[in-house]
Point group: C2
């Protein structure tokens, strides 16, 4: 048997949806298109950002209802990972940093409740910033003074809904909402934090585009972030923005068709589905169904196997789906009942997973991607069954 | 009169070339294309990099003869600016950094001979790395121990050819070759440094794509850079890579048509120019001619005006053009003869330029982009003439 990888969140599960609309949702870029550094000449605009990208981000959040965007800055990045660093740097640099008598500058602590997304720690330790540093679990954080708490909700790896846990004076929050989309969790209210991060990878499955966006309330923080983006990478790839705009608009338009045959953006569709060129099953219905089916199959397999615990999630009313639905997290957070090393057991089955210690917790846990291809997911269940 | 901007190097000068081949050199991306994080599954490949991008980079350097790429790692980045940070971080982290008794970690000094590219200093001061720091002019650098020297050749802002100036033990070099292309300077030999940076912006004028690449000799440094790229942005935008591959291949193919009617890559062209779909004047001939014309006009205008000095550049034999040619730098580095503030004078003419102090030198200097649109360049000469 070959090794199968479920350790990354490569969103192959959405491929068949997009394959079906390949030509209806394509972009063509001519030799002289998108040549300039500059894409938005509006006062107050983000110079490197295509206006249609900003507009598509506003539109999709308006349609899904998962984040407040009115009056906020939309700042594109090379995936949300770049925006995470840029937001940390912008927030940390607003704090008055005075070198103490050891001549060592104070680094602002960055914390996140465990289990936390493994890449936060890894990225911060490799970046080696002078003004902020990774300080691990937010639950045990008890220093005075400024700090930054990362709130990932729904959480990666365990799918739980979260709020800040530290709640001290001087606290700043970055809210990572990569998975706050209807296929993963019921949308109960628009998220409303000072700095919110989203990524195309997990919204629609276009991970290769490396397109993320921050929604930022405070003008000073937003301008610092734009300044940093301009210095670090002179903005982001315009081709990626164009593609993201097309994809997001395609998804949003499929829900914004109004009874009078007009789209919410004022374009006439003649009430004719042909004109809309939309598939019968829309994106969030497709992706929710796919994930729900996988979760049902996984829970059955885990029950038969008997070796693991899975978290339970309560159903909630989803304002977007207009019905009560169950969360279907992007990852299965599996706990080996014996308390032994779960990654080791999986390695014996030639299944590559991500081990608990990378998320700040015990090795009895592993994170398994629910977003891989059908083939990989089926293989995974089959190999699990050998433990029965 | 409206303000005209010649302070950035937005390469609008190449627009008309690409406009003429708009449909011959376009890319179409379907809804399900480029979805995965992964693009190269080869052992030893860069996981996020399209093989056609790596191949196009090899091909264009082979054709132009401006850099050694055989046996080197090609590492794509979001513009060369991202790769600059990533290379600094990779190089600095190879050095054994021991905190001294002040508990302050040693930051590796980063130097560059003045006048140096303004963004190096700005980027390093905003990034606030714990392991390296900007230390200004390489000519006056006299510390012991490890350091990193940035060698920009031809130099931004003054167009001079350069070599390392510090040459001490423990020195590491990053060579920024953004302007080492035939339109700017004669190609005398393939560049052969340990870490070399290039960017699509200045090679072909596609600045909005934010595509750069590093050519790296040492395996350990290359692997550190790839690791950093994977943590900071999980690679680069695949749409941008696809576009860059198309553009670079288009340019390279126009020079690789062989006498036997085959392209160097083995594809048959039937010896028929139609099949190649190439314009009559190829890219480097077009861009060299455009820049040479502008330099001739600028030198005449400066002579009439009398207020400024311009650097002189010696002609050299260009192995690519197969003739002796004059350098045509991307920027005019203008010195106000009176020694007064040159930016101030330009501001009075409503011409936005970049002032000497940003490059580490006197305010009598300004950098003026030679890459702007015809309209802006003509306006610039017209306003200069009012000083006569």
């Amino acid at each position: 048997d070959v090794v199968i990888s479920l350790d990354r969140g490569d969103p192959k599960i959405y491929y068949t949806f997009w394959k079906n609309v390949d030509d209806k949702c394509k972009v063509t870029i001519k030799a002289s298109d998108l040549m300039s550094y500059f894409a938005d000449f509006d006062e107050g605009g983000v110079f490197y950002q295509l206006p249609e990208f900003s507009e598509a981000v506003h539109q999709v959040h308006r349609v899904v209802g998962n984040a407040v965007t009115e009056g906020r800055y939309i700042i594109g990045g090379t995936g949300s990972s770049q925006l995470f660093s840029v937001a940390l740097c912008a927030l940390a640099s607003t704090v008055n940093v005075t070198p103490n008598n050891n001549m060592k500058k104070k680094q602002i602590p960055v914390v996140c409740a465990e289990p936390y997304y493994s890449c936060y720690e890894e990225a911060l330790e490799e970046e080696k910033s002078e003004i902020y540093k990774w300080q691990g679990d937010a639950n045990t954080f008890d220093e005075e003074g400024p700090y930054i708490e990362v709130v990932t909700t729904p959480n990666n790896p365990d799918g739980r809904l979260r709020e800040p846990v530290v709640k001290k004076e001087g606290g700043m929050v970055i809210c990572d909402l990569a998975y706050y989309w209807p296929q993963y969790t019921p949308i109960t209210a628009p998220a409303d934090y000072d700095v919110m991060l989203f990524t195309l990878s997990k919204a629609t499955g276009h991970a290769g585009s490396r397109v993320g966006w921050a929604i930022v309330k405070d003008k000073e923080i937003a301008l610092r972030m734009i300044k940093l983006m301009s210095l670090v990478t002179i903005g982001t790839c315009h081709e990626g923005q164009l593609r993201a705009a097309k994809i997001l608009e395609f998804v949003a338009n499929s829900y914004e068709r109004l009874a009078n045959g007009k789209l919410a953006n004022g374009k006439l569709s003649n009430g004719n589905p042909e004109v809309m060129e939309q598939p019968l099953e829309k994106f969030f219905e497709f992706s929710h169904r796919m994930l729900a089916e996988r979760w049902t199959r996984l829970r059955a397999a885990i029950k038969r196997c008997g070796a693991f615990n899975l978290p339970d999630y309560s159903p909630q009313y989803c304002k977007f789906m207009k019905k009560t639905s169950h969360p279907n997290p992007a990852y299965a957070w599996m706990e080996l009942k014996t308390g032994e090393d779960a990654e080791k057991l999986m390695n014996e089955l030639k299944i590559r997973t991500r081990a608990g210690p990378k998320f700040g917790v015990s090795s009895k846990y592993i994170r398994v991607s629910m977003l891989e291809s059908d083939d990989t997911f089926n293989q995974f269940l089959e190999r699990l069954s050998t433990l029965e």
